[in-house]
Symmetry: C2
Subunit: 481 residues, 2 copies
């Protein structure tokens, strides 16, 4: 599987210099603006060289060995090219062309033909009807249509979230979201019709990939239920999934898109519970929630302390926390007294009302009092960004969360644009609504409980000590913390 | 009540030139940058003139009659000033000071004292612990802390959404959201502890206010359940409410904020159903949903047609529509044939897959085919904004929706920033997620059904004709469409 993401040499079959040729956009990216180090060839009728990628009329004309073929031709000639690849000894194929099982009987027959050829030669196929792979580490990307601007925005920085996305359209939305968030992608794969490689293969690969900390999925169907469940149960990393086809109408719509079988959603839901997969409720949760896993230690209990300088959010978050199955932490008289001694707090019981004008020093004291109290498992801070000092306090809070091994889901009740710009500039994990912040605490706890149950681990007294030693938040999850 | 929003003369009691004086921010706004035409006075110990507002040492020293007093002094001197206002003949008082029933026994006693004085003089009181009123029509605003920048952003343009918001912090969030949306505020009121004027008084006033088309509320409690229900049942305009205190913990948190009684949430929910009030699920719905009422005709049936050029959104929206109790419209063979004849569509059954590159002409044909088919009650378009032509097509769609009397909830699957900027520049009602768009259709239909049931009206055949005559979407609701 690793060859798909790290090929030394690639051939783009169907790339030519004709106007509107989709394959040429892949050659342009690999040949011109992506700093990918491998060799890239093009195959087309006229043996044209495309954006510096040496052209050949047939796969077998390429003199050197080739690791990976990307096929983007009309569907009817795809089987022939797959055969040429087999003869050439290429064992990894991405088929981006559409018009297969998603497009009726004739397409389904062609897809079967490809399956047979690939089995005969021992090849692995990704697609058809997909975008293939993107690897932010080596800057290899075979998505057709990718622009220089996309590269500058999405591919320059490498992160630790890897995606399995059945639809190309959703890839674009996820990529755009990275523009302004603290998390970035490690690897992305769009698997389309899943003629061979499916979601089960991918989660197995990502689980073993040292660059991946969190696995996110957008699925329109599951190819082999049992294979998926078996693979998912072995995964040690947090997995989030958004699945289309929860209703009959959704299934029908998805079938004309990526041609999967209908899956019973209740069975899928039960599989998710067994394998500790978090079902998310929207595409936006696929990019908003992972930062809770990458930037915060896990939530290991239900008791949440809220503090805010906008009194309304005390009530709003209390409702949301209870509705999410969490609890408002009960602060002891001793802890309340310590808070009162700071001299600047309006209301020292939880939710703590900070009042309008808190100093940096008081913020720091509150963090220590709450995190060291033994009465609180996580924080839900809702401070207005009314002064640059507040964002500095938040940056200190993030450090203290790691120090104490307890998470904070931070929401700043300002215009979204302001929050996003602060998050981007200061690289702090800010959520964009109180609902999102509570949801982040909830999924963190859900993941923790799953690992605890699965590995029969108990909360070890050393968790805070380990956190202080700089053990990564992901490891906390993997080890059941 | 109208005097609160349209006073000819106002006195700000407690405004002085001392540093950090909150009252002075109100004088600064009214005296300097708000183009409010009324006379403004200040009352303070030294009789100082504040930002051009003539100063007096006592209310009775003001030589002319005064319509409205705004009190922003320490709580303990408020009762005395209320009495001075009574003697001066002022009958409308906004008390912004906090420290009353939300702050314990002593505060509660003072609040009772104020109640008695105001009853004796026949005065109406707004607050205490509130921000008072903002009227975008005459540019009167007595919110303390308002800045020139706020005025430029929020108050310059006048819209048709009026708000009743129990918390000052939420006022700020709602105001900030208007920066980039097609809807704007008409009037905003922050009613705080509701010693006298409460939500029931306000909805009654807004219902009769010709500038208000939609009424939105953020409430932490209901003062008099029966009074509220009776008032709400008479209202003809769409009402949306976000209520805190759905859980015991939320109630407790809200009590320390604006001091209301606990209300049973199930009773409140039943009251909302009886009075046709839409309960929203987040603060953001309070500003994202109203545009469905102001910019689109009502949804008068469940049958929704989806069209998109990102195949994934066919399945995503089908799931969401069904989960919201709506239906995927079934297109007849005739309608599908008409769609096929446009020659550019990938999939002509609902959800309609537009394919990657549609012309303006085809967009217009699709709108007409669907809206005139008799098989569709509303549209859920999900077009990518890949070309400026698409936004022009959307602008045409908005016109056609009014022409045919059927709504569209439009979601453009791009980066939120791009969507928001298009919405702002072209003034089209774009939603920011598929969930938000489906929710908008759902609340539109909910409101329609309520009006239909309540007024025992049937869908009249003249609805499309009336829409073509330029009857406003709000009137469609008011008249049961």
């Amino acid at each position: 599987m690793d060859t798909f993401f790290n090929p030394s040499s690639v051939v783009v079959i169907g790339a030519s210099n004709s106007p509107f040729n989709l394959g040429s956009t892949i050659c342009r990216a690999l040949g011109e603006f992506l700093p990918f180090k491998g060799k890239v060839y093009a195959v087309n009728r006229k043996a044209e060289t495309v954006y510096g990628c040496q052209g050949y009329a047939a796969v077998n004309d390429i003199p050197d060995p080739v690791d990976l073929a990307v096929i983007i031709t009309p569907a009817k000639v795809v089987p022939g090219f797959v055969k040429q690849c087999g003869e050439k000894g290429i064992r990894r194929i991405v088929i981006e062309s559409s018009g297969f099982s998603e497009g009726g009987e004739q397409g389904t027959a062609m897809q079967h033909e490809i399956d047979e050829i690939s089995r005969a030669y021992g090849m692995r196929i990704m697609g058809p009807n997909c975008l293939g792979v993107m690897n932010t580490e080596n800057k290899f990307c075979c998505f057709y249509g990718i622009q220089k601007e996309d590269f500058d925005t999405f591919l320059q920085e490498s992160g630790s979230i890897s995606y399995i996305i059945q639809s190309g359209g959703i890839v674009v939305i996820v990529l755009e979201s990275f523009r302004t968030d603290v998390v970035k992608a490690a690897k992305i794969v769009s698997i389309g019709n899943k003629s061979d490689i499916d979601e089960a293969d991918m989660i197995e690969y990502y689980d073993g990939d040292p660059k991946t900390d969190v696995i996110c999925m957008y699925l329109e169907n599951i190819k082999h239920g049992r294979k998926f469940l078996d693979a998912a149960k072995k995964v040690k990393k947090p997995m989030l999934v958004f699945k289309v086809g929860r209703t009959t109408e959704g299934v029908r719509a998805a079938q004309s898109h990526t041609a999967g079988m209908a899956n019973n959603d209740l069975i899928f839901d039960s599989a998710c519970k067994q394998a500790g997969i978090i079902r998310v409720r929207s595409i936006s949760e696929l990019h908003s929630l992972p930062k809770m896993f990458t930037h915060m230690p896990p939530l290991t209990g239900k008791r949440i302390a809220v503090f805010t300088n906008s009194g309304a959010f005390g009530g709003i978050t209390a409702d949301l926390l209870i509705e999410a199955g969490l609890e408002m932490a009960k602060l002891s008289p001793e802890t309340q007294e310590k808070l009162a001694k700071t001299g600047q707090i309006f209301n020292v019981s939880n939710p703590i009302d900070l009042g309008p004008a808190l100093s940096m020093q008081t913020f720091l004291e509150i963090f220590d009092i709450l995190l060291s109290s033994g009465e609180v498992d996580g924080l839900l801070p809702v401070p207005s960004l009314w002064h640059p000092m507040v964002i500095e306090a938040i940056m200190e809070l993030v450090k203290k969360c790691h120090q104490y091994g307890k998470p904070a889901a931070i929401y700043t009740p300002n215009a979204a644009a302001k929050t996003i710009s602060y998050r981007d500039t200061h690289q702090v994990p800010l959520f964009e609504s109180p609902e999102e912040a509570v949801r982040a605490l909830s999924v963190s706890y859900q993941q923790y409980l799953y690992r605890l149950r699965k590995e029969d681990l108990r909360v070890r007294p050393s968790v805070e000590a380990r956190a202080r030693q700089g053990v990564s938040p992901y490891q906390d999850y993997a080890e059941g913390a």
